[in-house]
């Protein structure tokens, strides 16, 4: 392989051929599609649940979240939603932040914030369900 690829006469395809597959190259793109499809029924369920929770008292809201089916679906929604959100916001950072370090820290910040918010939400659901 040439020391400076930009001076090489070889095509980009020729340079990478034989170096193995891209492995997780399409994972980000694919998971955005999978999570978006999963979110469609989850959000419909969530919106209909909110209709029942409008103006709910503290006890009513706790009873709703603590119900096994609702707790599991809420945890599923939290997991899929924050996964989709983290990966979507990562695309925004990758598109608009050019410099290497700010881009790296931007992506790490997005991932950390989404993980933190997901854990707060999931812990809250579990706490309501188990107390």
């Amino acid at each position: 392989m040439a020391k400076n690829p930009s001076h090489s006469m070889r095509t980009p395809l020729g340079r990478v051929r034989g170096l193995g597959s891209a492995k997780s190259g399409t994972t980000h793109w694919w998971m955005m599609r999978v999570s978006s499809i999963a979110l469609l029924p989850l959000l419909l369920w969530f919106v209909f649940s909110i209709f029942g929770l409008l103006g709910a008292s503290y006890a009513e809201a706790r009873a709703f979240v603590a119900a096994p089916v609702n707790a599991v679906l809420l945890l599923l929604l939290i997991g899929v939603m924050f996964h989709h959100m983290a990966h979507g916001l990562q695309e925004v950072v990758e598109d608009y932040v050019r410099a290497e370090l700010p881009r790296l820290f931007g992506i790490l910040l997005v991932k950390a914030a989404c993980l933190l918010l997901a854990l707060i939400s999931a812990f809250s659901v579990l706490r309501v369900a188990f107390t």
């Binding site: 503290y58 707060i120 309501v128």
Partner: protein
């Protein structure tokens, strides 16, 4: 570089294979268009609504955390969502969520290789806007009846 700069050739600096600098035309970009088109508008709005929905999720986190921490915190959250400002925020979230959902379904159709011809692109773009308005209003009619 004495010739007038075409907006489509916005200072793109590339290199020839021998390493010398060359100015190459960039593919037509935003500044080459003098008006917003439905294709670019739906794309830009999809990204904006995605970002806005990310912020809106904070209200769900707040509601869940308040529910877990006690009756006082829960009532504070519930009172906010019942206030004028709270309803305004929820209405905005509803519109943003429906737009991102419908435009997302449009993207999924494209990913399946469907609806790429221009008449269909324009039609589905209009359907996203009309659908967003209709579903937002419908959601709030049901919500106000259920409240």
């Amino acid at each position: 570089m004495s010739e007038p700069i075409d907006p489509r050739q916005a200072n793109f600096v590339g290199r020839r294979s021998d390493g010398s600098v060359v100015q190459r035309p960039l593919s037509p970009h935003l500044q080459a268009y003098d008006m917003m088109q439905i294709t670019s508008l739906t794309s830009i709005l999809h990204r904006i609504t995605g970002g806005a929905w990310s912020v809106a999720v904070l209200f769900l986190v707040w509601w869940l955390a308040a529910l877990a921490s006690g009756e006082g915190a829960f009532n504070t959250a519930q009172n906010f969502f019942g206030s004028f400002l709270g309803v305004l925020v929820l209405f905005g979230i509803t519109a943003v969520a429906w737009y991102h959902t419908l435009a997302g379904i449009r993207h999924l159709a494209w990913d399946a290789g469907k609806g790429f011809d221009l008449p269909t692109v324009f039609a589905t773009g209009r359907m996203v806007f009309i659908g967003t308005a209709a579903l937002t209003v419908l959601t709030w009619i049901i919500a106000l009846v259920a409240w």
